[in-house]
Amino acid sequence: MNKIFALAGVVIKELYRRKDFYVLFILTALLTFAAGSANFFHDAKIVRYLKDICLLLIWVSALLVAILTAARQIPAEREARTIFPLLAKPVSRAQLIVGKFLGCWLATGLALFVFYLFFAVITGSREQIWPVGVYLEAAWMQWVMLAIVIGMVLLGSIYFAAPSSTTTIAFIVVVGILFVGSHLNTIALQQGEPVQSILAFLYFTIPHLEWYDLRDFVVYDMGMAPVGAVALATLYAAAWTGIFLLLTWLGFRRKNLTT
């Protein structure tokens, strides 16, 4: 376990020593401030659009942080050959994968924490309300979803040598699921065969990332989503993350690292 944490620590250090995160955060903050300074009919109490925009930016940024970080881990180790001195130590490839996963996930969590803190301060200063539970739940669900995404990206990263291909594909897949994941069966009904069966199959087999988007609950002050459902969704995410990590390990464990 210590080995896994040591591996994760390196990933986290990398995140906060690279510029990506700061750029994303500053961009998010700037855009939010710009949106916040807009004047709509001299009404200073309007706040939901601001929450909406800020959360959207947070979703995009966190997704970028997670995907970009995860996609480059293993390829960068191989590219820079740092994987050789590392694996020459008593650490298994499974531990390497789990350590990388944990690092990416914790690093993303750190980023999420900063983002949501910013969000809470911005909206709190406007609305004077602090629904901490709602924020925590929304952030938790997002973080849990990002675990699936990170697992998926790690799997991709052992098959696609270039992190840019992994990143692009992952982004398309994740955004695709978020947008149409829950509608695939409805869309399927309007299609002919074989598209119908394919879509219906996908509907039942893809990880349903769209569940984890609780932005509407936050934006529209709807209170918390049922906690029991959140717990179940967490379990579901853990299962999918496990599936992806297992697949990653199966692909990686016998991989010849010199090619």
């Binding site: 620590g9 020593r17 590392l86 130590k89 010849n256 010199t258």
Partner: protein
């Protein structure tokens, strides 16, 4: 004396991505034995299969057939690498870490205690003369300094067996000198050193045992004296073994 590094009928084929071409056979049935306390020179011209052998020993590539073990443990088990140190032919280290952080990270992988870690890091930074730069990110290091970080990391666990892949190639004379000193010191401490090289003068100076591989096959193995018997020096013996006729004739 106990055998601590062993390969048996080790065969490695690199699978070719292009199906029409045959697989590249890098090792065809290599039998090696390194005993405790030896400084073992692993010799061979470029492309002989030295790095490949080390890659198998370290578990980077699975053998096509045959087996390899360290301290009697199959190399596929991570624990086989608990007591070894390894210096790759070329590497870069995590550029965003400092030398000290890098060593601390590797120490954690070995499960060293905190006080042990602190002591080792201090010793090693002194040994490779990087104390002054230990708090700077590695990306600011020169090539030579990076190589010295490499040496330091290979020694972090106070290994009983050191595997060095052409440790002196690409170093300036001073650097070579330094590496030779370190190998000598480890030998004095009773450690085993297994290193590849094609710098024969150097090998002659510090090795007691050598093996010569050529095109994936073991051509000779024994003490330096045994191998160079009947030749003016190790270099001539080497050239003869790898089939360089002219030299052998002279």
């Amino acid at each position: 004396m106990t055998v601590i590094l062993q390969t048996q009928k080790l065969r490695v084929e690199y699978r070719n991505r292009d199906f029409r071409q045959a697989n590249k056979v890098a090792l065809l049935g290599l039998d090696l034995e390194v005993r405790a306390g030896e400084v073992f020179g692993f010799l061979g011209p470029n492309g002989a299969g030295k790095t490949t052998t080390m890659n198998v020993l370290l578990g980077f590539i699975p053998p096509t057939s045959g087996s390899a073990s360290l301290f009697g443990i199959d190399v596929r088990q991570p624990i086989a690498r608990q007591r070894i140190g390894y210096l790759p032919e070329l590497t870069y280290y995590y550029k965003f870490l400092t030398a000290e952080e890098l060593l601390r990270f590797y120490a954690k992988i070995f499960g060293l205690s905190r006080s042990e870690t602190d002591r080792r890091i201090a010793d090693l930074l002194k040994l490779v003369e990087l104390e002054h730069a230990s708090k700077r990110p590695i990306k600011s290091y020169s090539k030579g300094m990076q190589q010295r970080v490499g040496i330091a990391q290979s020694l972090i666990n106070n290994p009983d067996l050191l595997i060095l892949d052409e440790p002196t190639s690409g170093l300036d004379p001073l650097g070579r000198m330094k590496v030779r000193e370190i190998i000598q010191r480890l030998k004095d401490e009773g450690k085993t050193v297994f290193f590849s090289s094609h710098e024969l003068g150097e090998v002659e100076a510090i090795c007691d045992h050598v093996a010569i591989v050529h095109q994936g096959e073991l051509k000779a193995m024994g003490t330096v004296a045994e191998i160079s018997a009947g030749h003016p020096n190790l270099e001539q013996a080497f050239l003869k073994v790898v089939g360089y006729q002219n030299a052998a004739a002279s």
